[in-house]
């Protein structure tokens, strides 16, 4: 197992390097000159040239990349030219909010998706299965901003059960914190469960046709035991992948959901940085998100190995 972990870590290092290069290039190749943005109306050619020199923007691209990477490796992601905050400070203030949102959304998604998948697989092709498969399709085609507004109008404006917008840290008021997260997490989860359900459902149906299940049935085991003990674990391999990919996808979803529900997370930070052309923040957040994605995939690989011994021994 240790061997496997080391091999995987060595494999992601070049990926992380490529990610850093792409992040740097994206921010550098965006149209518009950073010096122009900072100087605004003060942008005379002389001022622009002086500032470009001061910021090292007149150096060749490879030199700028290496010096940026050098700073990043020492934990220095730079400072926003607009707010004066360091990127690390800005990100560390926001990241707990996004993590809480993503984990809660994924949890609710699994909570809805897994039982429904098992129920559908148990009677594949039946009325319930057909109804749920159809509903899942309908849910998938619903954009999250529309879902968010519908939930706000129902639960905040009409019923007054939950707040429409806002946030308090968990450490300050745990219950209030959870109340603020219910609607945004539900919005994301409602887009997550259909995928979870469909993947697990079809894997379960396939597993249920295996010989060993027939054997278990012949032995007279209870149907619930067959479903939950014998069929669920081998069917969940794809589910683990989907969950991993979902977490990456959820990062994208938080851009919209955090803006609508006014949660001070990483998505809002990114949107704000784009609007104000705060390239230093933009670079930092994109790098972090991309690395987060790579690391989540690494964890998924590890889980694979735990779920299926053939993978860690290199047979699959």
């Amino acid at each position: 197992m240790l061997n496997f972990v080391v091999r995987r870590i060595l494999a992601i290092l070049p990926v992380l390097l490529a990610v850093s290069l792409l992040t740097f290039l994206i921010a550098s190749l965006l149209p518009g000159d950073l010096a122009f943005v900072i100087l605004g109306d003060q942008a005379t050619p002389e001022n622009v040239a002086a500032l470009r020199h001061e910021m090292g923007l007149d150096q060749p691209l490879w030199w700028r990349y290496l010096s940026w990477l050098g700073h990043v490796l020492q934990g220095d992601l730079g400072r926003s030219f607009r707010t004066g905050q360091t990127v690390l400070q800005a990100i560390s203030e926001r990241i707990p909010v996004s993590l809480e949102l993503m984990l809660m959304a994924e949890f609710i998604g699994l909570l809805i998706g897994v039982p429904l998948a098992i129920a559908c697989a148990a009677r594949a092709g039946g009325a319930f299965d057909r109804f749920m498969t159809g509903s899942a399709f309908a849910m998938l085609s619903m954009p999250s901003f529309l879902m968010a507004i519908l939930l706000i109008y129902l639960f905040a404006v009409e019923l007054h059960w939950l707040p429409a917008t806002g946030y308090v840290p968990f450490t300050e008021a745990p219950l209030a914190n959870l109340r603020f997260f219910v609607l945004p997490a539900l919005t994301l989860a409602l887009a997550e469960w259909p995928g979870i359900m469909r993947v697990l459902r079809s894997d379960m149906i396939a597993t249920l046709q295996e010989d060993y299940i027939a054997l278990a049935k012949a032995k007279g085991l209870k149907p619930s035991r067959i479903l939950f003990v014998h069929a669920l674990k081998p069917s969940s391999l794809t589910l683990v992948t989907v969950t991993g990919i979902n977490i990456g996808r959820l990062l994208g979803g938080t851009l919209i959901v955090e803006s609508i529900f006014a949660l001070p997370g990483i998505g809002r930070l990114l949107v704000g940085a784009i609007y104000t052309r705060d390239l230093v923040i933009l670079q930092g957040v994109v790098l972090l998100v991309a690395c987060g994605f790579v690391i989540v995939n690494f964890i998924v690989d590890m889980l694979y190995a735990v779920l299926d011994p053939r993978i860690r021994h290199g047979h699959a």
Partner: protein, 514 residues
């Protein structure tokens, strides 16, 4: 009194400003109640307050700045300059020097005394070329600020300004007065730890979430402010911002015509109040007359005449946007019997383009926002009908000023903001040689009118000048005006004492809860 001030007094007519006439603070005949707290739903995250860092304040920053900082002057209900940190003022005959007498005994939140030297340091810091502040652009007309004694302040201007006290009343990056001790001791951190003399003190600020302002117990205006606490929250999504107001989580929100449905809904809701302010200025567009096809007046006139503004208003804001035919607007004191507006006439437009003889193809800059795109598409249709082909060039908001200043455009959107006097903007936008004269149009008569209007004290004569300016610009069609500036705030009906939304600033520092 110092020599400068004494000389100014001798030469100048005195503007009668009674110290007790704190008109903007005079509320309708209602009993103000002390105590309580309100939450304000804003459009944007506030980047900070240090002009050197943020350059120019946005609408959300204005609201916070109005509570944390004071300005020298303010505007009363009639839109005229009234005292704030300055108690009275006089000007020289040529309107190039203004002397302000400052209020005594005022202290910043950190205990630093407010005086002429503190103000001068604020000004010098913004103007210092070494600081490269974007904010410096807006005070290039001020040659220097002098502090001849502790409570006397002198503005020496490069050009005359008959209405300076009104012009410097907005809570902008240039006019908000910061504590020099605070920015010197806090350095980079000052941006997010502002210190002013205003009615509220910054208590805490969680990035992206909330800013908590507490009542300043030592505020110079005794009895004010009324509320104990103001909480400012960025709620970027217009729909959820309105939902938060409906569900009672926030007490007042910023809004605009983009969000016409919610404004109309709020008008019908007895629990809500719609605050509307018809300001001066307008959303405008500038033709670059130095490049084809806009170097020909026929093309410019044709495009302006092809625009059906009421229909456009319907398309972008359910008819809420008010068409504009001059740069001043209904909220300005400049009202023209004849502003020379070109009529909507598609047939005439077609004839003009036919007369021009060549195909009219051009690109227009629009902001990469839903609103920008819609405006672009609507204009594209109007112009197509007249026989001109416009290609939409979508760029983000921050790119427009740099493209405009470097003249890399054929047609660009712009805005004339709601200022108490038209001079600063109109002069900058149309006088030959100004960096902001985006059209590159030069006309001796236009220059003469602009020069005359800024040195004339007689309001009637100035109105005549400004109307003549409007007629000239409309005839030459170097710029056109789309819609007048209108500002909105929606609040709970319990919130009282909310002032006029001058310059789009949601100033809640004078409000109370019923």
């Amino acid at each position: 009194m110092t020599n400068i001030a004494a000389a100014a007094c001798k030469r100048a007519p005195i503007f009668l400003v009674a110290a007790f006439a704190l008109l903007p603070l005079a509320q309708p005949a209602q009993a103000q109640k002390a105590g309580g707290s309100i939450t304000v739903g804003q459009e944007l995250d506030i980047p900070g307050f240090d002009p050197l860092k943020v350059g120019v304040y946005d609408t959300s920053t204005f609201t916070a700045a109005a509570a944390i900082f004071d300005t020298l002057t303010t505007l009363d209900d009639k839109g005229e300059a009234a005292p704030k940190l300055a108690e009275s003022w006089i000007h020289s005959d040529d309107y190039k020097s203004w002397t302000f007498k400052l209020r005594q005994g005022v202290k910043f939140h950190d205990g630093t005394p407010f005086n002429a030297q503190a103000f001068k340091e604020n000004f010098d810091r913004q103007r210092d070329p070494a600081n490269k502040c974007r904010c410096a652009f807006y005070i290039t007309n001020v040659k220097e600020v002098l502090a001849p004694d502790e409570y006397t302040l002198v503005y020496n201007l490069t050009d005359p300004s008959v209405n300076l006290p009104a012009v410097i009343s907005i809570q902008s990056q240039n006019n908000a007065v910061h504590s020099p001790t605070a920015w010197k001791t806090k350095g980079d951190d000052y941006n997010r730890n502002p210190v002013g003399t205003g009615p509220y003190i910054l208590k805490s600020w969680t990035a992206g979430d909330r800013m908590v302002l507490e009542k300043n117990p030592n505020y110079w205006d005794k009895g004010r402010p009324y509320l104990d606490r103001i909480i400012l929250k960025p709620l970027p999504d217009a729909q959820s911002r309105f939902a938060s107001l409906q569900s009672g989580e926030v007490d007042i929100i910023w809004d605009d015509e983009n969000d016409a449905d919610n404004i109309m809904k709020a008008q019908k809701d007895s629990k809500l109040t719609v605050h509307t302010y018809k300001g001066s200025g307008a959303a405008v567009y500038a033709f670059n007359t130095k490049v084809a096809p806009f170097d020909d007046v026929r093309v410019r006139q044709a495009l302006v005449m092809a625009i059906d503004r009421p229909k456009m208003s319907q398309a972008i804001s359910n008819g809420l946007s008010r068409p504009a035919t001059n740069p001043y607007g209904d909220g300005s004191w400049v009202r023209c019997k004849d502003d020379g507006a070109l009529p909507y006439d598609v047939e005439k437009a077609k004839a003009l383009l036919k007369d021009y003889g060549k195909p009219v193809d051009f690109k227009m800059l629009v902001t990469a926002t839903p609103r920008g795109r819609v405006i672009g598409q609507v204009l594209q249709q109007f112009w197509k009908r007249a026989g001109a082909n416009m290609e939409i060039d979508q760029v983000d908001q921050a790119t427009i000023p740099s493209r405009a200043f470097s003249r890399q455009f054929q047609l660009t959107p712009w805005r004339i903001v709601d200022l108490a006097d038209p001079d600063p903007q109109v002069y900058a936008n149309f006088h030959t040689g100004s960096p902001l004269a985006l059209s590159g149009f030069s006309d001796p008569e236009l220059d003469r009118l602009l020069d005359h209007s800024r040195v004339t004290a007689d309001t009637a004569a100035r109105i005549e000048d400004y109307c003549a300016i409007s007629r000239l610009i409309n005839k030459e069609a170097i710029w056109f005006w789309a819609f007048q500036n209108t500002y909105y705030a929606l609040s709970s009906a319990r919130l009282k004492g909310f002032p006029k939304i001058y310059n789009g600033v949601i100033d809640v520092s004078t409000t109370w809860l019923e």
